[in-house]
């Protein structure tokens, strides 16, 4: 059994950072994990996607055609990828940058998060990624919040460690939102 | 040896006692000897490593009694870089011809010089590809007939001879760059002193040292040994002036 998640958005939204963080947290929990980024010739502003797979067993492919979950950060990513989510899978998306849900071909679970607004309330627009990752972790339980928090310390370069408290706040905020949403549904 | 005799000339100990494969009148033998004398004078035969190139001088290991590695065509300065980085206290020299150094190996020589690699480069310029049969070289003179410029080198189509000593002197990493010739006894002596200086600078870790030697290739020039020797002074030196183009150890 594996948990696999595909994440997509604009370059600069911190997609690759949370992919790294999730895989790192899983490894801290002594699970196996792969992180596989897709990359283009440009360093900034293009599309950013990655796949993270977490498993207790040996992981084969680091990519899946039909991932169990997707974290979609904008309309472009939504339009392009949502119909590849495995039947019965989960789509967590940033409702601030997604206006419209395409017509879906399969049954999936959806969780809309106003991540831009929440990040702005936290005082840092760049925390969108952590809000969404927090929600994903709380919703699926694939890794614990504690592991994510420890992972931040391993993942972030020294010069960015001062952002750890803000990132933790955003992870908690996203997790809280997911729990409340589960309570409502 | 009789009591009243003394040795005034002998084979340098860095050269092996073997017959030469070079053509009559070829200057490789002279330059080999000058290099060997420099190695002997500095007493570094045991730590000298030669980098052979592709061309007539490929058989460096047949003549020099030292360790030698053979480089692909033009790559001797890169091979020398690798060797020197592993054995920084060794004395590394490349020995290259004009096709090897100034055509296919242009990038390697320029960048080795520019990095200031602590190696010595001996460059024999005889205005032609010797081993492959007298084709046009980057140093072939304007109008010179070769097997691939049968109507004479046309500078409008084939470009100009490259003056390597001047070119390398412009690079920040070059410590020493000079051009000498070996067509007269006096110039042979001068060439010997210059080559010694280029090796000495390496031993003293003063930087990249380059010596271009003008030499003759009678076979491919279609000349007798004497005619070819004369051509070096008559035709080559006008285009390739002798001199020291850079010497960071010179005062003033």
């Amino acid at each position: 059994m594996s948990d696999n998640v595909f994440m997509a958005g604009y370059g600069g939204q911190g997609i690759l950072l949370i992919g790294n963080l999730l895989a790192c947290a899983a490894i801290l929990e002594n699970k196996n994990a792969t992180y596989f980024p897709a990359y283009g010739p440009e360093k900034r502003g293009g599309a950013a996607t990655c796949t993270v797979i977490v498993s207790r067993e040996e992981i084969g492919s680091p990519v899946m055609g039909h991932p169990d979950s997707m974290l979609l950060f904008n309309q472009l990513a939504m339009d392009k990828y949502v119909n590849r989510i495995a039947s019965g899978g989960l789509c967590i998306y940033n409702s601030c940058l997604v206006d419209e849900m395409p017509k879906l071909q399969t049954d999936i679970h959806k969780l809309a998060i106003p991540a831009n607004e929440m990040a702005a309330e936290l005082g840092n627009a760049r925390l969108v990624n952590m809000v969404i990752l927090g929600a994903y972790a709380a919703r699926t339980g694939v890794v614990s919040m504690d592991s994510l928090k420890s992972g931040l310390d391993s993942i972030l370069p020294e010069r960015n460690k001062r952002f750890i408290p803000g990132n933790i706040l955003a992870l908690d905020c996203g997790a809280e939102y997911a729990r409340k949403a589960a309570g409502r549904s | 040896m009789a009591p009243n005799e003394q040795t005034v000339f002998q084979r340098p100990s860095s050269l092996k006692e073997v017959p030469t494969h070079y053509c009559a009148g070829c200057h490789h033998g002279t330059v080999h000897r000058l290099v060997a004398e420099a190695i002997d004078l500095l007493d570094v035969q045991q730590q000298t490593i030669g980098i052979g190139s592709v061309g007539c001088s490929v058989l460096l290991y047949d003549y020099f009694d030292i360790d030698v590695v053979e480089a692909p065509h033009g790559r001797a300065p890169a091979v020398g870089t690798g060797v020197k980085r592993v054995h920084p206290d060794s004395v590394v020299f490349t020995y290259q011809g004009d096709g090897d150094l100034a055509a296919i190996g242009t990038a390697e020589i320029i960048h080795a010089a520019n990095r200031g690699e602590l190696i010595t480069v001996i460059f024999l310029n005889n205005t032609t590809y010797g081993m492959t049969g007298g084709q046009m070289a980057p140093t072939t003179l304007p109008g010179q007939v070769t097997t691939t410029s049968p109507y004479g080198r046309d500078v409008t189509k084939e470009g100009y001879p490259i003056r390597v000593a001047e070119l390398l002197a412009m690079l920040g990493g070059t410590a020493f760059s000079a051009r000498v010739a070996v067509d007269t006894p006096k110039r042979v002596m001068e060439a010997g002193r210059t080559i010694l200086k280029a090796f000495e600078m390496q031993v003293k870790k003063q930087g990249f040292a380059f010596v271009e030697v003008l030499g003759a290739c009678p076979t491919n020039w279609g000349m007798s040994a004497i005619e070819a020797n004369e051509r070096v002074g008559k035709e080559m030196m006008d285009y390739f002036p002798l001199g020291v183009y850079k010497d960071i150890t010179a005062s003033g």
Binding site: A23, G60 | A71, A78, V83, E108
Partner: protein, 355 residues
């Protein structure tokens, strides 16, 4: 529990090299392997090693030739277009028996091609990219851990057999991150001394010559038979492979490197559906593990070879199998949007399993 690091494949190569005692690195930037020179430029000075960013791949491989001939543990890394430029140097190194490690983190081609995942350089790696008819040892890792472990092994094999060794990775393995258990390298005690290396004569009676030019009567032929004997010895002693589920297999899948990762997931899907599918994964692609193919296909004749190219290793598979075997191929050459997923390979398994 052993310490587990979370490491990018390219960096695992560099870490393995340093652990194996590599102290000389010469290279030139090219995507998707730039983490290797970047890591080396940062870490080599800390261990007293040498990092040189060469002016070209051509210069880099020749610096490797020089350092290897001088007896150093030396490495370079690149990707397809750069490996083409290194072909000349690799031929010279094979001919003059210079040990070194060359890493190819493959990208799709031909020409500039692309920068995504591909196994387009199998032929180039195992058939000898340069002139003259020679082989390198070619190791094909399929995980970050193996990138680390097999890079170490590559140094030892190169030194043992006096031969250049290649680590054949790809953009998937190079760019992905997963767990790595670091461990101390155990230098084999029986490695032959490098008494052939050029070090300066240092009092030796005869100078050493590291060379590939042989002009005397019969000399070159003798040298080539000597190299050939070495390749035969490699085939006998150094083939490595992973075989899974061959006991009950009705269909054998075979793949190397990154493709094997995708195939492993597809096989798990197939097994879940009750399909009896096995796997042969060559770890050395030269020497190619021919024997396991012969014995396995004598029992299970149907083989599906999956590659991230249009069919390269499949030629070696066909040369290795039992004469009655039925070898099929599925592959995609790579490029943006051209990485097959496990579901796609699973569909191929279902198709070939039936007919």
């Amino acid at each position: 529990m052993k310490k587990r690091l979370f490491v990018k494949g390219n960096e695992a190569v560099a870490m393995g090299a340093l652990e194996a005692g590599c102290r000389y690195y010469f290279g030139y930037p090219i995507t998707p392997q730039n983490d290797i020179p970047e890591f080396m430029s940062r870490e080599m000075p800390k261990v007293g090693g040498t990092f040189v960013q060469a002016e070209s791949e051509v210069a880099a491989i020749n610096m490797v030739l020089g350092a290897g001939a001088a007896g150093g543990r030396v490495m370079t890394s690149s990707s397809g277009p750069g490996i083409s430029l290194k072909a000349e140097g690799m031929s010279f190194m094979a001919g003059s028996e210079v040990p070194a490690v060359i890493v190819n983190i493959q990208r799709p081609g031909p020409g500039l091609g692309g920068i995504d995942v591909s196994q387009a350089d199998y032929f180039q790696a195992v058939k000898g990219a340069g002139h003259g008819g020679y082989h390198l040892i070619v190791l094909a890792p399929h995980s970050v851990q193996e990138l680390y472990d097999l890079t170490m092994l590559a140094f030892d094999l190169a030194d043992r057999y006096r031969i250049p060794a290649m680590v054949l990775g790809d953009a998937m393995l190079g760019q992905m991150k997963e767990a790595l258990v670091p461990h101390a390298h155990q230098l084999p005690e029986d490695l032959p001394p490098k008494d052939w290396a050029i070090t300066g004569k240092g009092g030796r009676a005869k100078g050493n010559a590291v060379k590939s030019l042989y002009l005397a009567d019969g000399e070159l032929e003798a040298h080539n038979w000597h190299l050939h004997a070495k390749y035969a010895q490699l085939k006998e002693k150094e083939t490595r492979f992973e075989a899974v589920g061959l006991e009950d297999a009705e269909l054998i899948l075979t793949a190397f490197g990154g493709a094997a990762r995708i195939v492993k997931t597809a096989i798990a899907m197939a097994r879940k559906e009750g399909l009896k599918v096995g796997l042969i994964r060559p770890i050395t692609v030269f020497p190619f593990p021919a024997e396991i193919y012969r014995t396995a296909t004598a029992k299970t004749p149907k083989v599906l070879c999956v590659e991230l190219n249009n069919g390269q290793m499949v030629e070696d598979v066909r040369l290795s199998v039992d004469p009655m075997a039925d070898v099929r191929f599925y592959g995609r050459p790579g490029g943006t949007g051209s990485l097959p997923d496990p579901e796609e390979i699973f569909a191929q398994i279902c198709k070939h399993y039936k007919d």
